[in-house]
């Protein structure tokens, strides 16, 4: 192992830890202000959407609303399963199965699109 790489890794580890621990350190003494608690209630919804939607709509880095976009098709079906069942395993199972079948069908040129 090279020293300069170890130093880079340690630097990365420190800043990563600080971003995750920073807020707790800041609010430790004072407690959380009320406006912040109200705001943070909506953070999970916003952040989950921001994580999911770009992966579905632009899996290759550009906007792809076509039927060739397997992520979008599997995403729509998985959303329906998630809405109906609220079950993680069912949703993941259906999603992966759709992804695999689309890939398989695409490889054998079974898809009309």
């Amino acid at each position: 192992m090279r020293t300069e790489i170890i130093l880079i890794i340690i630097g990365m580890a420190v800043v990563t830890f600080l971003t995750r621990f920073g807020c707790l350190l800041v609010f430790r003494q004072t407690g959380m202000p009320a406006f912040l608690t109200g705001w943070l209630r909506h953070v999970p919804t916003a952040i989950l959407t921001a994580l999911i939607l770009p992966s579905l709509l632009l899996p290759k880095g550009y906007l792809d609303l076509s039927l060739q976009n397997h992520y979008l098709l599997a995403g729509i079906l998985a959303s329906l399963v998630a809405y109906k069942s609220r079950n993680i395993l069912a949703t993941v199972g259906v999603g992966i199965m759709v992804m695999f079948s689309l890939h398989w069908a695409g490889q054998w040129e079974l898809l009309p699109f």
Binding site: I9, M12, H42, A50, Y62, L63, Y71, A82, I96
Partner: protein, 241 residues
């Protein structure tokens, strides 16, 4: 009389711990291909096997590890540039940390530090969902984080040891497992008008941001704007009532 009570709390803690582990299993399905890719990428960009594994052990942040490896592969070895980029990519965790802070502040400091170390997108999503459904449990968060952390390290090790042919798993869309899990966490939250607006707004900003903003900034921008709009709407609603 105190002993049974202590025993009961311990049982409860263990229960929460194993719930956290169990709930993270579907997400781990999605993490494994990423970890394997991370291991493969490490050695292909010129890191040694030990260096690649050490990075997963100490940093535990997929996106920034990919970015830094790409930079190292491109010949950028300057400490400050790589570390600053890591900071930018991980800024979104400040928001996640802040959102969990009201619950975590009551915990002992070493536990806070451990839980903060394990706070990644996936463990945050699981913990936030658990708060929404059954309330906060530090042991649940610990179980989920530990399971995710161990699978991240193990899959990096597998990637380092395997040849290039496993990278195809990602093309096959095994990474969809993670998206599907996030969908199950998100959709039950969309129960009122404000959450639907927050979701729609965040989605539009994220997609536009992913197209035009560098790196992972779109997550931070979308999250901040949409959640602020949500809290303003909520305050206005309360004012009317």
């Amino acid at each position: 009389m105190t002993k049974p009570l202590v025993a009961r709390t311990e049982n409860l803690n263990n229960l929460h711990l194993s719930q956290g582990v169990r709930d993270s299993l579907p997400i781990i399905l999605g993490i494994i291909p990423f970890g394997i890719t991370c291991g493969l990428m490490g050695i292909t960009t010129g890191l040694t096997q030990a260096e690649t594994i050490l990075m997963s052990v100490l940093v535990f942040a997929g996106a920034s590890q990919f970015v830094s490896m790409t930079m190292l592969g491109a010949g950028i070895t300057e400490w400050s540039i790589i570390v600053f980029t890591t900071l930018l990519v991980n800024l979104r965790h400040i928001i996640m940390g802040a959102s969990l802070a009201p619950y975590m502040m009551k915990l002992p400091l070493p536990l806070q530090a451990v839980l903060s170390f394990g706070l990644v997108d996936e463990s945050y999503a699981l913990t936030a969902n658990r708060i929404y459904k059954d309330g906060y449990s530090a042991y649940y968060q610990l179980g989920a984080s530990a399971a995710l952390y161990l699978s991240w390290i193990l899959s990096t090790v597998i990637g380092v040891m395997m040849g290039g042919y496993l990278a195809r798993c990602l093309e096959w869309g095994l990474d969809f497992a993670m998206i599907a899990t996030f969908l199950v966490l998100l959709i039950p939250r969309l129960v009122d008008r404000i959450s639907i607006v927050v979701c729609a707004l965040s989605g539009i900003i994220a997609v536009v941001g992913a197209l035009y903003l560098p790196g992972k900034w779109y997550i931070i921008v979308a999250c901040l704007l949409a959640s602020v709009v949500g809290s303003i709407m909520e305050r206005r609603n309360k004012g009317e009532n």
